[in-house]
């Protein structure tokens, strides 16, 4: 029993990582007030190109590099439409997500001649880290040690992103741009540039999340393997209003329920039901949050609505 609990907690870190990474990327676009829903698609693209690079060069480094480049290219496409051509951000996001799903599936079938999933010993997975000192502590070591290195980096990144957004010049200008684009412009800040940077960062982070999925969590690519994680990350961003440390916490909670759901499959509960658990938790969290928010703003809202009605 104890072992099961330890493995659930251990797995929750792996389950949390892709969501954490793509949510951290999305938090940049959140603050820049870019309506970016394309994390899902960018994650999928990253997952595919990670496998592609790793397979052809038989090196995880090349896989990682391929994934990051694909993330950059995907965000360039997004920016071309959303910023340069000023198309609707939401529609552009839908387009990106559909392009990612269709495109990776097509490439999978064409390049590797397989349907469903591509598995090969030539795909090299991400290395794990054996943290010196940690391996001597019994239970903690079982939980925290020897994860793929991205897991640790993602957690460090949560603190780093928090620092960037709240303590650097870029962060301040990012928030100002999202708050009021014209005010920022009047002070000599180029809002388009800021928005572009945020989309770029989001693309890179989401692609890294995808690499973790296909080269860390498992070592294969399967169709639609991002499986809604980009949407969950979007929900988390909105839920915690973009706070990176809040994102870290929520991702871990979500990760815990996801891995718990996996374990529950062993005790005769239909897998369809158990795999609903993390999503039910998300909906519950959204519900609790909105009730709380409703309470705190009810009085202020009334006034505003009265004026709006006119």
């Amino acid at each position: 029993m104890n072992n099961i609990l330890i493995s659930i907690i251990r797995d929750s870190f792996s389950s949390a990582t892709p969501i954490l990474l793509s949510a951290l990327g999305g938090t940049f676009t959140f603050y820049a007030n870019v309506f970016n829903i394309s994390m899902e698609g960018m994650m999928l693209i990253g997952a595919f190109f990670g496998v592609l690079g790793s397979f052809y060069f038989q090196s995880w480094v090349m896989g990682f590099l391929f994934a990051l480049i694909s993330g950059v290219v995907a965000s360039l496409i997004f920016s071309l439409f959303a910023i340069l051509l000023k198309t609707d951000e939401f529609l552009t996001g839908i387009g990106m997500n559909m392009l990612a799903l269709g495109g990776t599936t097509y490439l999978l079938r064409n390049l590797f001649n397989v349907k469903g999933a591509f598995i090969s010993p030539q795909i090299k997975s991400l290395p794990t880290w054996d943290i010196p000192g940690l391996n001597k502590i019994p239970v903690v070591s079982n939980i925290l040690n020897k994860h793929p290195f991205i897991v640790y980096i993602a957690i460090i990144l949560a603190f780093f992103v928090d620092f960037i957004i709240f303590h650097t010049k870029f962060g301040l200008r990012l928030r100002a741009t999202g708050e009021d684009q014209e005010t920022a412009r009047s002070l000599g800040i180029n809002p388009e540039k800021i928005k572009f940077s945020s989309i770029l960062l989001s693309g890179i982070f989401s692609a890294a999340a995808g690499t973790f999925l296909s080269l860390g969590y498992v070592t294969l690519f399967s169709e639609n393997m991002s499986n809604g994680r980009g949407w969950i990350s979007l929900a988390i961003i909105v839920l915690v209003r973009g706070r990176p440390l809040g994102i870290l916490l929520m991702s871990l909670i979500f990760g815990f329920f996801e891995s718990a759901a996996f374990s529950l499959q062993n005790i005769n509960i239909p897998s369809q039901i158990t795999s609903m658990i993390p999503y039910i938790v998300t909906i519950l969290a959204l519900f609790i949050y909105s009730v709380y928010k409703e309470k705190s703003t009810r009085s202020a809202k009334k006034e505003v609505e009265k004026i709006k009605e006119i």
């Binding site: 303590h167 010049k169 200008r173 708050e179 009021d180 005010t183 920022a184 412009r185 002070l187 009265k306």
Partner: protein, 496 residues
């Protein structure tokens, strides 16, 4: 001379916004810029602020010719503009707003401590005691203005332009602002102050420049000009041909209210409107005239002692539905967002609020609706390619006529028109005025809420002038002159 703008001309498609206007500003001066809506004040300011480029004309700063290609350019030359719509990021702190774009510290590690300390310094200069880490969204309008001023002095502005800063703040706050303006003046900052309130011009300005219809009327030292002369400079134009007036006021009273209060906006007022009368309500921005109109239409919470419409007393007025039922219609100020569905055609727009007429049972009788619409189009002289033209493609004047047509189909007893001629051209205005006359002559009591003084003098039989949520006086037929209205509306006349 600190600033000279020489013979500035700016045209927009179809309009000459500024016609060879010259303007200058001395050092240590507060210079008031006045004129009616559309006089060209804001265009002039936008040119000074680098938002527009003039078609011709030159700008000199300290005798040197300058050209502004962007707002940032103007800012670099020490010109700060405080727009009516304040340019602040609401969810950032005061300090962050002040130093945005000129932050202290290295890009990777901002020196927030120093920004807060410096902000404190600037805020103290303005006598504003507050923690600079407070979010701007927590401040009220006058406090936000102070943050804007702090922003301006922190970037070494030599000229601060304030676009109607007193329009949205209280009397007390206005006095505080004036103290600050005087101190800034002593510190060597010159201020261009745009206002509609003539009382304020005399209180604070050293010189005043009047614009009218895009032309410079004159610049005067404040001691040299009486308020009567100033009003004349602002208003003077041929009024008779623009305002057709042929309504016949009947003796019968159609609407009478006593101690009618719009809670939180307008102090109790009493007045009556006769059949066939055009009753004006006017005053400056923020005087409460639109709130009073919306109150009469049941949008705001109200209290009253008496509310008699066509001899029927009304016991309560809590919603527009009740107002409509009692026979009051309101033609709203913003026809595009409040009056029309732009993507629907004329028939559909006219049918929409009149479903009780056209759809007595479940389905809409489109044939009847179309016929009625055709008649309305003819009656109100609406220029359309056909009754199924989309409203979006009509001119502003014709859109306004559609709005009037659809409300008047309800056969109201009292029609409240809020700024019915805003944003439409002169020809269409005259047609709307004729329509208003016809309305009155059909036995309706017309309440015309407007800030255009010529409309009042040209059309109204009586007019209520308001100031800061209070009724100042009701002017009778012979007393309606621009001078009287401005004097009452700017608070030069206190309650009579």
């Amino acid at each position: 001379m600190l600033l000279e703008m020489k013979e500035i001309t700016k045209t927009f498609p179809g309009v000459v916004a500024l016609d060879k206007v010259s303007f200058n500003l001395k050092e240590n001066e507060i210079h008031a810029l006045v004129g009616e809506n559309g006089a060209g004040k804001s265009t002039l300011i936008k040119i000074l602020g680098g938002i527009y480029k003039p078609d011709s004309g030159e700008i000199f700063l300290n005798g040197k010719k300058v050209e502004f290609n962007s707002p940032l350019d103007a800012k670099r030359h020490g010109i700060a503009i405080i727009h009516q719509e304040l340019m602040l990021a609401e969810n950032l702190s005061i300090a962050e707003n002040i130093f945005l774009g000129k932050e202290f510290g290295s890009p990777l590690n901002l020196n927030f401590h120093k920004m807060v300390e410096e902000s404190k310094k600037y805020l103290q200069m303005l006598g504003f005691e507050i923690d600079p880490q407070t979010k701007v969204s927590k401040l009220n309008v006058s406090e936000k203005q102070l943050v804007e001023i702090a922003k301006a002095i922190s970037s070494n502005a030599k000229i601060i332009v304030m676009d109607e800063p007193t329009a949205t703040i209280s009397e007390h706050e206005t006095q505080i602002l004036f103290e600050i303006m005087k101190e800034l003046k002593e510190k060597g900052i010159s201020i261009i102050f745009i206002t509609h309130k003539l009382g304020e011009v005399y209180q604070i300005a050293d010189r005043v420049t009047v614009l009218r219809d895009g032309k410079l009327i004159g610049t005067k030292n404040i001691e040299e000009i009486s308020s009567e002369e100033l009003v004349k400079m602002m208003v003077g134009r041929e009024i008779k041909e623009m305002f057709p007036k042929y309504n016949k006021v009947q003796d019968e009273i159609i609407l009478e209210v006593e101690d009618f209060e719009v809670i939180g906006y307008v102090a109790p007022v009493s007045f009556n409107v006769k059949k066939g009368e055009i009753f004006g309500i006017t005053g400056l921005v923020g005087c409460g005239k639109s709130e009073l109109a919306l109150g009469l239409y049941g949008v705001y919470r109200t209290k009253f002692k008496k509310f008699i419409i066509d001899k029927q007393p009304l016991l309560e007025l809590k919603s527009p539905q009740q107002a409509l039922k009692a026979g009051i219609v309101l033609v709203p100020e913003d026809r595009k967002s409040q009056g029309l569905v732009l993507l629907l055609d004329v028939v559909q727009n006219i049918t929409l609020p009149n479903c009780d007429i056209f759809a007595p049972s479940l389905n809409i009788k489109w044939k009847k609706a179309t016929e009625t619409t055709k008649k309305q189009i003819k009656d109100y002289n609406i220029k359309v390619s056909g009754e199924h033209q989309k409203v979006k493609n009509l001119s502003g004047g014709n859109q306004q006529k559609v709005v009037l047509a659809k409300f008047l189909l309800k056969k109201p007893k009292v029609a409240i028109l809020v700024e019915p001629t805003r944003g439409i051209d002169v020809g269409a205005k005259i047609e709307v005025y004729k329509l208003i006359n016809n309305l009155a002559n059909s036995g309706i009591g017309v309440i015309l809420v407007t800030s255009e003084i010529p409309e009042i003098t040209g059309l109204c039989d009586r007019v209520m002038v308001m100031h800061r949520g209070k009724m100042i006086e009701i002017l009778e037929k012979g007393e309606i002159t621009p001078e009287r209205i401005l004097k009452a509306g700017t608070g030069l006349v206190e309650n009579v």
